[in-house]
């Protein structure tokens, strides 16, 4: 049920964003929105039963607050990542020290792991190469430590405190 | 003015990748280069104010044609692997 509701909300949001300029210019706003509701409900009925991807998402108040905060954390990390890339690319000697290190994650749900892997890819100097079981293999452009524990501490911890609350 | 600059550079890139597509010895490179020719050509359509053609060329010429080529290459490779 929760899965189904979230799929409907996501599809309806996409529909509203796509048809926003039509909605603003035409007079039949209610009809357009009703069409969106009908279509997204139908699509959710068709497909939501197949993959329970959003089953584990939590809807407690704390999780919602964290869900609002997470993009800010992510954008900050992305900005730092880009300044880092800029520094490395522009310096003539190319200060890189790459390694592929293994880190462990506590997240269980597939969606949480997906978001974690994508976030790691877009943050300073790290790129997810592979996931096997509960360990992620990360290409680190400037490997400070090659130990599993300390690398986990440095790379994963910042996101995981948020994602654990949201996805579990 | 700016449109002319964009247009000339994109056309030159398209010609260069067409040359790569034709003369390359590696099939994967040659197919990707053909996809790049389609992609740059769709940017040219966009500059010639034909957005519908650009959309179709991007969807079909650049994505779908590449996917079909790789599907066929995969079939051929599977057959050669099974024969060995």
């Amino acid at each position: 049920m929760r899965n189904w509701v979230i799929v409907v909300i996501l599809l309806l949001g996409t529909w509203l964003l796509l048809s926003a300029d039509v909605l603003m210019s035409t007079t039949s706003v209610a009809g357009s929105i009703a069409a969106g509701v009908v279509v997204s409900t139908a699509v959710a009925l068709l497909f939501a039963g197949r993959k329970m991807l959003y089953k584990n998402i939590r809807l407690t108040p704390k999780a919602l607050v964290y869900l609002l905060f997470y993009p800010l954390v992510f954008l900050k990390a992305l900005l730092i990542a880009n300044l880092d890339v800029a520094r490395r690319v522009l310096s003539p000697s190319l200060p890189i020290n790459p390694a592929i290190v293994e880190v462990k994650t506590n997240l269980i749900s597939p969606l949480g792991r997906l978001v974690l892997a994508n976030s790691i890819t877009l943050t300073p100097g790290t790129l997810t190469v592979d996931i096997q079981g509960d360990s992620l293999y990360i290409h680190w452009i400037d490997a400070v430590s090659t130990d599993v524990q300390s690398a986990t501490e440095k790379i994963v911890r910042g996101f995981e405190t948020y994602l654990e609350v949201i996805y579990g | 003015m700016i449109e002319s600059i964009l247009f000339i550079v994109l056309a030159l890139l398209a010609l260069a990748s067409a040359v790569v597509a034709v003369i390359s010895k590696n099939l994967v490179t040659s197919i990707i280069s053909a996809g790049l020719v389609s992609l740059l050509a769709s940017l040219l359509y966009l500059l010639m104010s034909a957005p519908d053609v650009a959309m179709t060329e991007a969807a079909i010429g650049s994505s779908l044609a590449t996917i079909i080529f790789f599907y066929v290459l995969n079939r051929i490779r599977a057959k050669e692997d099974s024969r060995d």
């Binding site: - | 067409a18 040359v19 034709v22 050509a41 104010s49 519908d52 179709t56 010429g61």
Partner: protein, 120 residues
């Protein structure tokens, strides 16, 4: 210089490059790739034929009123032709690839020089 004429020139060059590839390559998949380059070049020529300088896309929306569209838009007919041609080009490419698969099944090679049995 008008970008329509540049597009015309680029399209002709693409057609020539692709023709050279079709005539000189000996691997069948590469001949098909050259064919798709020729296809793109022809589409470019056709769109360039309908282009008029300093005019906008023939889609009527809030930025372009229907009443003064005829004096502001480019010729939409070549674009419609090219839309059809792109889709048919994909079909022809797929057909050629199906033939290539068939040739590979029969002869175990896609190199034209290695195909000795010319008749069935």
């Amino acid at each position: 210089m008008n970008i329509g004429s540049i597009a015309m020139g680029a399209g002709f060059l693409l057609v020539l490059i692709g023709l050279w590839g079709i005539l000189t390559r000996t691997h069948i998949i590469q001949i098909i790739v050259s064919f798709s380059v020729v296809d793109t070049g022809v589409h470019l020529i056709m769109v360039a034929a309908g282009y008029m300088h300093q005019r906008t896309a023939p889609i009527i929306s809030e930025g372009l009123a229907a009443s003064d569209a005829p004096s502001l838009v480019v010729d939409p007919l070549p674009q419609a032709l090219v839309l059809t041609a792109i889709v048919i080009g994909l079909g022809v490419t797929a057909l050629m690839l199906a033939f290539a698969l068939r040739i590979h099944e029969k002869n175990d090679t896609l190199e034209i020089k290695n195909i000795e049995r010319l008749r069935w």
